[in-house]
Subunit: 276 residues, 2 copies
Amino acid sequence: MILINGEQRDTLEITDRGLHYGDGLFETIEIVQGQPVFLTQHLARLKIGCQVLRIPYPKEALLLDEIHQICHSVVHGVVKLMLTRGSGGRGYRQPEPIQATRLVFLYPFPKYPVNYKNEGIKALFCTSRLGLNPVLAGIKHNNRLEQVLARAEWQDEFQEGLMLNLNEHVIEGTMTNLFVVKDGVLYTPEIILSGVKGVLREIILEIAKINNIPFKVTSLTQDFILLADELFVTNSVIGIWPIKSLAGKSYALGSWTQKIIHYLAEYKISDQGTAC
Amino acid sequence: MILINGEQRDTLEITDRGLHYGDGLFETIEIVQGQPVFLTQHLARLKIGCQVLRIPYPKEALLLDEIHQICHSVVHGVVKLMLTRGSGGRGYRQPEPIQATRLVFLYPFPKYPVNYKNEGIKALFCTSRLGLNPVLAGIKHNNRLEQVLARAEWQDEFQEGLMLNLNEHVIEGTMTNLFVVKDGVLYTPEIILSGVKGVLREIILEIAKINNIPFKVTSLTQDFILLADELFVTNSVIGIWPIKSLAGKSYALGSWTQKIIHYLAEYKISDQGTAC
């Protein structure tokens, strides 16, 4: 089921700028028992994206209502909420006023083997590099060719690929953020020139703060990551996947990762009150 | 009129990766008396884009036939030819096999005042920067947020904005390539880390070669451009627009620009034989 500006449809106006320029933003939200998980955080990031791209943020009641229509009877699924700059304008020049297009897609929850969570995944370093653009870094916009090219580097032999940017800093996975544990400190790459600030990344940083886990958000090299004690990747749909092998090296599903998985489960329960 | 995979339609499958990730390429082609101008060159660039993004290049006869259907009775117009990776796949992972979507749009020829060509335009330096990504530089892909953001910096007081990249090199206009004449040498920025290799840019470089005009393709600074003798921008639809003012400085529509405008007119006539 798909809602476009509140109406059930399965096609889009061909003039939409989402198609022509990737001129839009999206959020991918887990649905559990009819409730969108971490909805407040997803909408907050969408709002920041709207400020950066200067797409008018719709009335939140409208978004909440459309998400509710889509997901209220869903036991376990995924909602993709997309917002484009709509149709019109002349070439790159935006229309005035901007009439954003709201798209709400419902997908079944992806069936990942349970051992990805319990035992960990195999990852590789992608050859494709993330470009540099400080304005677009952080937000979840629709210009995603870099991720598409990186994801085409493997088939089923790995579950995620880590991407370096042009400065040779490790930034994130193609669809996840990366966390590294080394000597009792939790590290995650800074998202300044490249990458997406995942909703779960922000939550895990918050969890670290609440629970006095020492953490650093900084630039990380490939060498540093290969010397890590523990590695895991995160996104709002998969949660936390420990990395059990990377570039031929093996990693334990260590106590820090287990602790954070535990804290996240607690946080998720306590956060349920904020859903729509 | 719009053809999608050969059929007249005005809506697109909502699952198309062009919408979700800007996962596609496009060409904007002038139509004169039913004939697409510089079609061979446009299709050659599209093919390179397909190689870079690994989107299967459709059978050329099919593209030619669909363009012909759209433009055979058009006196003066613009065809936008778009190719996306089609629908399907799982997240960023591409479908297998890839069934590219072909889109052919017909637009009226934009009505620009004739003095843009004859007297020149006013340009500014945009504040927005082009990011860096050597893999995506050169091709005309659908990830165009940088251009959308730059074009939003002015309304009607200018006709084009020149964009620097993160390295502070001047690369191009939001919808054009840039040429600079200084001491009898023609310069254009190298397109290595950022920017699009415009079809007309390549043709003007060819014209320079044929006519023994000294030229250099190199990195250019803002200071160098401000000291230029003559400046002009190019794209396949507008042709050549001299710049008459930039950042408060005035420029003459000089003899080199006039010479190149003349050579281009000749080249266009001689090239007509290659159209479909």
